[in-house]
Symmetry: C2
Subunit: 342 residues, 2 copies
């Protein structure tokens, strides 16, 4: 550690009275100007003077005090991004944040890393958000949803693979990802499909439904086909072991959890001399750039999030009409982009 | 959209008085029990009764009201994870959150997507955090740091490539990443080094210092060597164009921005018949699994975050002693992991 020049010890917190004094106006005028209240006639010169005084003093209103006065907050709590990884979710959250801000909400992200579900929900409730979007991984029971609504949340919305009783649901139905890949492989005449299952416990909530989607697609196809789960850790050594016994498995296709798992397995299969796609077709998911850089180029399930109404407007509507029926919106669209690997 | 069974309209918010009534104790007792105040003698049976009543009613204390009463909050504001991408930062933030919670802080993440720096700082100040860890990308001027400290923040800490005047600094000095790669290449006799510069504006804050590190390493090496920046968008087409004119550039080595850019360029160079590493050595950064899956295996700069004191303890100390000198802590360690590509 090195020391930089002195930081001044905590100065006194400026108040709206300080702003009023500096600008030479009443506290009520300060409040009208800084809250953008346009029903009161205040000259532009005065508004400018108040804003400059607030800026010079570094005065900002206190969100908590304001929400206590108003009896409700404008805070929307979103799950921290790492709980729903991937570029797809990141873009979704970026857009959602921008749109909610445009609707004048304060967007706060809250991680539940290291907390159990009850602790996480209590921590959320303590912040008195007007709405909570909770990841599918935290199991919102009806009781926990009740804790949030009784603490003042007008809308509790889950975002994840399955809806949860008592809450609105933005559903990313992962079964469609597996089903799309399986339908493609079946249409190409593949009949024995392995499904890579990642061993990261955080991914089980996605991987389980994807496998279910594959199994259902195989069942309903009418073809004499089968699918089986293949556990695989994201490491070179287990991938090499799986590749070494690949021909004993009798599979002619494999659906990887995502493009990175597909790359891991393809490398191991190629190193073991297994022909792709001649002997085994490989399908990834996520349609990342890296799949296009592989040889053969990777066939992959592309996912998109689409909604009839932009999610921010939906959340705003649910907040403003809290008594309505619970809603379910399916956001995930999946289609297989066919390249060379299968 | 489909409709699920009815959600009950906003029930009344339970108060500590409701909990006191149900548990048959005073409001003071409720407050002592739920705030874990152990200086007051209350029987275990009573504590249990209060906790059960609070659970049954779904009562949670109001963080804002509590911080207003106490005159300060326990809220530490962290930047939303997407502003510092990559597994390295994610692990750092996960550990930091867990450790801060253990020290009884409320950790809230705040995205500044779509906000300018002044708006972001005001939004942070409105939440009255006791500490703010701000990403390097948002330029905290001394004025903006002042807005935060005057709103009650005891510690303002930047996390990024450079320190900022007026704030404590956790510095991730990216120059060391470039310098490590360049020193390795120079030691292998490479003398003309291209440095891939990503065109994503969000990465400029990392890419610029990395290039500076390369240039300094070349200058101080004493070798008759040179380095030059090569702009490259993360797309196949521009990579192919760059590869097509590669031999006219007279380079014998290239430092990619990260392993993914290295993969993009390696594929394009190999498709153009450029030998790796014979004609051109390639070094990535990040030491991701995918680099080990490439052929030749990718040489890459591994980054680690290390601190003499765990960052959560450091932040806690800065909060408890707000008048001290500003501190700078360098967290980033970089070393080149040599494989086959250069």
């Amino acid at each position: 550690m090195s020391q930089l020049p002195e930081q001044s010890a905590g100065p006194s917190v400026p108040t709206s009275a300080d702003v009023a004094r500096l600008a030479g106006v009443s506290r009520a005028t300060v409040s009208y100007v800084l809250n953008d209240n346009t029903t009161v006639r205040i000259s532009d010169a005065t508004r400018r003077r108040v804003r400059e005084a607030a800026f010079d003093l570094g005065y900002v209103p206190h969100a908590a005090a304001r929400s206590l006065r108003a009896g409700h907050s404008r805070m929307v709590l979103l799950p921290a991004a790492q709980q729903l990884p991937g570029p797809l979710h990141q873009r979704f959250f970026t857009d959602l944040q921008t749109d909610l801000r445009r609707l004048d909400y304060t967007v706060v992200q809250y991680g539940s890393v290291g907390l159990d579900a009850d602790e996480a929900v209590r921590a959320w409730a303590e912040l008195r958000p007007v709405a909570v979007v909770a990841p599918g991984g935290v199991h919102l029971t009806p009781h926990r949803t009740g804790v949030l609504t009784r603490s003042g949340a007008k809308a509790v919305i889950t975002l994840g693979p399955q809806p949860v009783e008592g809450a609105h649901a933005l559903v990313l139905d992962q079964r469609e990802v597996g089903a799309s890949a399986a339908r493609h492989l079946l249409s190409r005449g593949r009949r024995s499909i392995g499904v890579l299952m990642p061993q990261d416990p955080g991914l089980a909530v996605f991987a389980g439904p994807r496998l279910a989607g594959v199994l259902r697609a195989v069942e309903t196809s009418g073809a004499a086909a089968r699918a089986e789960p293949l556990p695989l850790a994201y490491e070179e050594e287990p991938a090499a072991r799986l590749a070494a016994r690949w021909r004993t498995l009798g599979l002619d296709a494999v659906i990887a959890y995502d493009d990175e798992y597909a790359m891991l397995l393809m490398r191991a299969l190629q190193d073991a001399g297994v022909g792709i796609p001649e002997e085994t077709a490989v399908v990834g998911a996520g349609d990342l750039m890296l799949g296009r850089l592989l040889r053969p180029r990777l066939t992959s399930v592309r996912m998109e999030l689409a909604a009839a109404q932009p999610p921010a407007e939906l959340i705003d509507r649910l907040i403003r009409h809290p008594g309505g029926p619970r809603e379910r919106h399916d956001l995930l669209r999946a289609r297989t982009v066919v390249r060379e690997s299968g």
